[in-house]
Symmetry: C2
Amino acid sequence: MPGKVKSRGAIVAPPAATMVEVIECVPNFSEGRRKEIVDAIVAAIMSAPGVKLLGKEMDPNHNRAVVTFIGPRLAVAEAAFRGAEKAVELIDMNVHKGEHPRIGALDVCPFVPIAGATMDDCVALARSVGRRIAEELGVPVYLYAEAATRPDRRRLPDIRRGEYEGLKEEIGTNPDRKPDFGPARLHPTAGATVVGARPVLIAWNVNLATKDVGLARRIAKAIRESSGGFPAVQAKGFELADRGLVQVSMNMLDYRKTSLVRVFEEIRKLAAQEGVEIADSEIVGQVPLAPLLEASRAHFRLTGFDDAQILELRLWE
Amino acid sequence: MPGKVKSRGAIVAPPAATMVEVIECVPNFSEGRRKEIVDAIVAAIMSAPGVKLLGKEMDPNHNRAVVTFIGPRLAVAEAAFRGAEKAVELIDMNVHKGEHPRIGALDVCPFVPIAGATMDDCVALARSVGRRIAEELGVPVYLYAEAATRPDRRRLPDIRRGEYEGLKEEIGTNPDRKPDFGPARLHPTAGATVVGARPVLIAWNVNLATKDVGLARRIAKAIRESSGGFPAVQAKGFELADRGLVQVSMNMLDYRKTSLVRVFEEIRKLAAQEGVEIADSEIVGQVPLAPLLEASRAHFRLTGFDDAQILELRLWE
């Protein structure tokens, strides 16, 4: 058994570098009360072949719906456009009211690389879908986040300043508010749209076997970017009174910049310095496979492991 | 962030309990020298829609070929039958010679549950493919391993006793050698076939940061089933002279019976008792996703985690 070769016989097809193409798209629409409108938009999205619906949330106070779907890039591009088209048809921003800031019927539409696609791919996708929305639907489009064309358009609040009502006044007169694509005037009913690309967010809580919430807060401060910790990590410390534990609650904004394995080890180390152990951790909602496989590698100290060795993934080639 | 709900909004479709159906099939054919014959058999297998070829090995000394493919059950059943049919057409056991024991053109054909299928599913598959091979091709079929109908047919060497030449004499006269399906006489050119179901084997080496090969041997002895250790674990200790390490080399014969995480922890503990650390480990060849995800869960001490949270896996629903 020693000197076992790293492959049991010739692999016929060389494993593809990327085995599956999964891009997530999370469009936000300015309708959170009339279910039939949201259903019609979701139906339009799902009419594009090859996409999978993951979620649909309606918030009546925000008067906003968030739809989540995944698929390969061309499928996701077509689905996003069809959702935009239906929203432009059915939503009138002149009568829209809600607590959440917004500038249009399809208010914002991010593309998120999950597997087999890079951030650059998603930036290209955002630009091409944004251009199509502008050209075919007559809606002005702003590019944001990683797809932004100027620094003052990276953040949504900057693009949404003044909201639908304020932008209506400014878009034609203030050159800083000229859209990236389409006319320098709002669509008469659908307003404007923000399209972009961003990394996937992982919501992750690590629970510590202590009642000392101060420790959770100190660790949160040590690891979060805003206090000089790890890039792309948001963290806060909380008490979990019902469990007799404390929690470091995190948003991992880009696991490729700061890995979960690295942060877990840092929390473990900082807690151990005060004689406290990690009780457990929980991932809230969705997570890509990659950070989980990184933990597998770390756990077994795997060397020379290739994802192409994973049997299920071969089906995707 | 505390009290974050476990799902960000309603998941529209409830996650399926099993998200993808992957069964592996590893037929062994009695031809390891003439590439054109093996290529024709592989082409017949791949003519069944929905299967993916993972490997093709020819061994001229054994005069034997091993083909590995995966797919959902009906696809795999059809592909296995087409391979059998082509082998019966092209291979003549009366002129076959090779070092490896064998009784037929398609010598043995195991079905292996990888994901979304149980061992019982693979047993049912083995029986239905076995019956079809007997009925349509006139080849006697023995069921082995988990699909065996009697204890003396669980192990291949028992079924292959006397090989092609010996079985030819005995099959019609010894009731213990009556096949499970088909005639009690060998096919005139294709002999007999063994079909069955078995768990996936994971070849895994854990390397220890010591030159004391005795420690690797003691640990191997402590963990292997044959010396009273973990069920379904084979292990041996070796020296890795070129790396200045020693190795516990394992075949994990059924990770559902004994998990890799459990064995890794045991090796870590036994080595630590002698002041030695695990240097690294390597998985040789293929591995299902499940034991890797178990390591992710262990590493992060994840609670309440559901594979349906993994974005890529949602594409499979």
